[in-house]
Symmetry: C2
Subunit: 211 residues, 2 copies
DNA sequence: GTCTATATCGAGATAGAC
DNA sequence: GTCTATCTCGATATAGAC
C-alpha cells in the first residue's frame, strides 16, 4: 500500500503536525480529529496512513531515537582524549536538542504512553545513548582528566543539564546558538573539574575541527 | 462546606491518589473514575470535595510551588558567601526533589494543562524560585568566586542538572541519599569552576552546620 | 457525603460510497 | 485516498434518593 510508504507526502504532513501537537499538549490530550484538521483532512482519512493513534507515536519516537544515535555516531570519533570527546558530545547534544526540541520532549514524556513491548525497545535505544556518554566520563576519570564523585550520577547530571536547553531556548532570544553551545560546553567540562582556561583552549580547537 | 476543608481526610486521600496517578500517566490520561476507584469511591462523589478535575490539579500545583518556595526560604540564609549559598541551595533542592518527585514531575509537565490565568500565577512562583538561584550565581560571579559564560544559561543548566535526580533515583538503589546529594553538590560547584579540593572542604563545613 | 442514574459530549475506529 | 455516516465506548459533570 503506497499510502503507508514513509515518503508519501500526506503521511509526512500528518507526522509533522502530530509531532508538534503531541509536544504542545501531550499524547493523551491530542485527538485524531485535532491531527486531521491541522492538515485539512477528515479524521477517518488518517487511517489510510496509520493503523492507530499509538502507531503514529511509535513512529515518531523510533525515528527520533534512531536518528539521535546515528547522528551521534557520525559526529563523534573515539580516537581522541576524553576531554575532546566530551566537548564533541556536548556540542552535538545541545545542537541536536536545539534543532529538534519537539522530538526530545515527546521522547521524554510519552514513553509511558506506549505498550510495554514498544516501550522496552525504545528504552534500550535511550540507554545506549546515555551509556555512550558514561563511557566517555569513565575514560576521563580513569585517565585522571576528570574529577567526580560517581560516574553514573555525574553522567545523568550532565545529560539532564544539556537536555534542559529545550525548555527555554528560542531562536529569536537573547543568545545565538553558538554562544549557548559554548556556555554548555564550559559548564559540562568545568563540572568535571577541567579549569576554565583549558576549556576555552580545547573548545576552540574542537570548533576549528568540526564547524 | 466542611467537605471542602483542606484537612478533610477523604479529600486528602483523593489529593494524594490524584498526585500519584497524574505523575504516572499524565493529567489527561487519568479519569475521575480512576481517581475515585483508587480510594474506593464512586466517581460522582469526588464532586463533593472538588469542583472539577482541573481544580484538583490546581490545588496540587499551588501546594507544591508554595511549599517549595517556603522551604527554600527556611533553609537558606543569605549572610554567607555565594559558594556556601550554592551548597545550601543544592542540598535543599536535591533533597526536596528526592522526597517529592511526583509533585516535581507534575509541575514540570502539567502547567500546560491549566487555563491561562492559573498557569500565569504558577509560572510566577516557578520563576521566583529560579531567580533565587540566579541571584546566588550572579553574586558569585561578581565576587570572582564563580566562572561561567552566561549567568542565566548557567543557572538554568544547574537547575536542570539537579532536577534530573527525580528521573532515576530510587530509595532502594545503589546509592544512599547523602551520597547522591554530595555528588550533585560537587557537580554544581565544579561546574562554576570551584576546584574539587575546595568543594570537599566547603561541603563538609556546610554539612556540619546544617545536618 | 455517598450512592445510582443519567445527560451530554467527544474519543478511537470502521463501513462503504465515490 | 478522501469523504460521510455510524458504531461503541468512556469522558466530565449533574440530579436526586438516602
Amino acid at each position: 500500500m503506497d499510502s503507508k510508504h514513509p515518503r508519501n507526502p500526506t503521511r509526512s504532513l500528518l507526522l509533522n503536525h502530530a509531532r508538534r501537537l503531541f509536544a504542545e499538549r501531550g499524547f493523551s490530550a491530542v485527538s485524531m480529529r485535532d491531527i486531521a484538521r491541522s492538515v485539512g483532512l477528515q479524521q477517518s482519512s488518517i487511517y489510510n496512513h496509520f493503523d492507530s493513534k499509538q502507531s503514529i507515536l511509535i513512529e515518531l519516537l523510533r525515528g527520533h531515537m534512531l536518528t539521535l544515535n546515528q547522528c551521534r555516531n557520525d559526529w563523534l570519533s573515539d580516537e581522541v582524549s576524553a576531554t575532546e570527546q566530551l566537548i564533541a558530545f556536548t556540542q552535538f547534544h545541545v545542537a541536536y536538542h536545539i534543532d529538534f526540541p519537539d522530538d526530545v520532549f515527546i521522547a521524554y514524556m510519552e514513553l509511558r504512553s506506549l505498550e510495554p513491548d514498544n516501550r522496552k525497545a525504545l528504552v534500550r535505544l535511550r540507554d545506549e545513548y546515555e551509556l555512550s556518554l558514561q563511557a566517555i566520563v569513565q575514560q576521563g576519570v580513569t585517565a585522571g582528566e576528570f574529577q567526580c564523585v560517581d560516574v553514573a550520577v555525574h553522567t545523568r547530571a550532565i545529560i539532564a543539564m544539556l537536555t534542559g536547553v529545550t525548555v527555554w531556548y528560542r531562536h529569536d532570544g537573547r543568545l545565538d546558538k553558538d554562544t549557548v553551545i559554548h556556555s554548555y560546553v564550559t559548564a559540562a567540562l568545568q563540572s568535571l573539574g577541567i579549569p576554565a582556561n583549558d576549556v576555552a583552549h580545547q573548545h576552540e580547537l574542537k570548533k576549528v575541527k568540526h564547524v
